[in-house]
């Protein structure tokens, strides 16, 4: 893709990024930050491409380090966000009486 097309995509993505989170309550700031954090773990795609083109062993080693780090960001990010949100979900149906038996868990 040529430079101008990439620039166009970048600028449009800026506006979409501003727009999608414009109205969010402070309750969801933490999960939203964590979810956005997971999404930039997609640098994994870049790390895979670089590792897949590596001929020199040193380049491969550094690229594989990047793959490990990016995977940690991506997988860990989505898992921890899911855990946070699971708790939000649980409270809709759980009555407060359920607090007793679960006390001390986790």
């Amino acid at each position: 893709m040529d430079g101008i097309a990439l620039l166009t995509v970048t600028v449009l993505a800026v506006f979409v990024g501003f727009e999608v989170v414009s109205k969010v309550s402070s309750t969801l700031h933490t999960p939203l930050m964590s979810g956005a954090n997971a999404i930039h773990g997609i640098i994994l795609v870049g790390a895979i491409i670089v590792a897949g083109q590596a001929a020199d062993p040193w380049v491969l080693a550094v690229a594989l380090l990047a793959v490990v780090l990016a995977t940690a960001n991506l997988v860990g990010g989505f898992v921890v966000t899911d855990r946070m949100l699971h708790m939000f979900h649980a409270r809709k149906d759980a009555a407060r009486t359920a607090a007793g038996p679960k006390a001390g868990g986790k």
């Binding site: 990024g17 930050m33 964590s34 491969l60 594989l64």
Partner: protein, 457 residues
């Protein structure tokens, strides 16, 4: 061994990008948030499968092994981490993402024949390194591996200025010459800048810095997409950069701060000093039975939970206490400060974990007017978010932050471990007021004792 032609590759990347946009959209609303996160994970899966099918890749066994290692380390940690330690885990994941972007850019330098591509490489290197090192320092602060107070030393602004100047010079040199050695130097300067950027940021402002560094990593990923000519990285990185910027501003606004003030406040000196000395003024300390009597014969009680509650894992006991008081016909609510805990919204997560119903969690704006008609405000392990210095003392580091007006309640009870000041490191005058009593001890133990005493009334 390219199985997909470029058109299909582009279409699959487009699908992944749409998943990310929908994920962010749904994460902004409580009802759809969890599905939103899963949609984001689906997008990531599509993208990773696509890159394997569409590019001519060598070393595939090695790459798969590296992915296995990364997953094997991160997934169990993310699944098991205590919810109180979640902010530092997010900081850590953010940092390694920035580090990965910087490494990708470093390795692409050899393939970059166009100076514009080298500009993108320099940007990725610098911003990725700042994010990596900065996140490392926020991790250390939140994990209390180092002091949570702002770290400032004379000449810090000068050192920071020199590092940035050197980084710009190295960056220009890399763009002109493509030298790998200078690129490594730039990486090191970026790491130094990241450390220097976060060191002077004090306690309560750390979460906002995590959000800012999250936006930085997004920008680094977007720039790495420009380097590799990969549209998906450009779109995903830019989305995170833009939404992260908005989110950072929203968080700062919830605390009554400006982002620039947080980052550069300490450089200007003075305001972050706070008072370190614990004063010798007398306080009224009280027993669990006294607190139980106060609570048990009140009509309206508001519980103000803070980080101390979360650390002590007392949220379940707090929920039980609320239940016991309601059984006596007392109206009980939880007042949630937007930055209670270590991150905006953190306290909601912790209380949700303890099954406290949504309707009992009142946001600050909603409940502040009700403290006037409240008999007892029970402050459990919170300090800075109820500190009147935020309203009255213009020299205080938390001046201007909106607070929960517990001082308006007829009686205020603090459950505290000690007289040690809160995360922001400043003393709370409310502790010495005549309507205030204190019960010292671990938040969970104190709550359990009060709960037992309430049941015995």
């Amino acid at each position: 061994m390219s199985l997909l032609d470029p058109v299909w590759t582009s279409l699959l990347y487009l699908a992944a990008a749409i998943c990310f946009i929908l994920a962010l959209r749904r994460l902004s609303s409580p009802r759809t948030a969890r599905r939103g996160n899963l949609v984001g994970a689906l997008g990531a899966l599509i993208a990773v499968v696509t890159v394997f099918l569409s590019s001519r890749l060598e070393n595939i066994p090695w790459i798969l092994a590296a992915i296995a290692v990364g997953s094997a380390v991160a997934a169990p940690v993310a699944r098991r981490v205590n919810m109180t330690q979640m902010p530092q885990l997010v900081a850590l994941f953010n940092g390694v993402g920035g580090g990965a972007a910087a490494l990708v850019a470093l390795l692409e330098l050899g393939h970059a024949d166009n100076p514009w591509v080298r500009v993108a490489i320099v940007f990725t290197l610098l911003v990725g390194a700042v994010s990596f090192a900065g996140s490392g320092v926020t991790f250390a602060k939140l994990q209390e591996l180092m002091t949570t107070r702002p770290v400032v030393f004379p000449g810090l602004p000068v050192v920071m200025g020199l590092v940035l100047l050197a980084a710009v010079a190295a960056g220009v040199a890399v763009v002109l010459t493509g030298s790998l050695l200078l690129a490594v130097l730039l990486l090191l300067l970026g790491l130094a800048a990241g450390v220097l950027l976060v060191l002077p940021v004090g306690g309560a402002d750390v979460p906002i810095v995590i959000s800012l560094l999250n936006a930085f990593t997004g920008l680094a990923v977007a720039a790495s997409g420009l380097v590799l000519g990969n549209v998906l990285l450009v779109v995903a990185g830019t989305l995170v950069g833009a939404s992260g910027t908005i989110l950072t501003r929203a968080m700062a606004a919830a605390m009554g701060r400006s982002v620039a003030g947080i980052l550069f406040g300490a450089f200007r000196g003075g305001s972050t000093a706070g008072s370190t000395a614990v004063s010798e003024r007398p306080v009224r300390s009280s027993s669990a039975e006294d607190v139980a009597v106060l609570l048990g014969y009140a009509q309206r009680v508001i519980i103000v939970p803070g980080y101390g509650l979360a650390v002590a894992q007392g949220q379940h006991t707090a929920a039980e206490l609320a239940l016991a008081l309601e059984a006596r016909g007392i109206e009980v609510d939880f007042a949630i400060h937007p930055v209670a805990g270590r991150m905006p919204g953190h306290m909601n997560v912790l209380l949700a974990e303890a099954n406290v119903p949504y309707e009992s969690l009142k946001e600050m704006g909603e409940i502040n007017a009700e403290f006037k008609t409240t008999d007892v405000a029970l402050v459990v392990g919170a300090n800075d978010v109820v500190n009147p210095a935020a309203k009255t003392s213009s020299g205080s580091p938390i001046y201007g932050m909106p607070i929960l007006e517990v001082a308006e309640a007829r009686q205020v009870v603090f459950l505290k471990r000690s007289m040690r000041p809160g995360f922001a490191g400043i003393e709370n005058d409310l502790l010495y007021e005549p309507q205030t009593s204190l019960l010292f001890g671990d938040a969970k133990d104190s709550l359990a004792q009060v709960l037992g005493a309430v049941k015995a009334l």
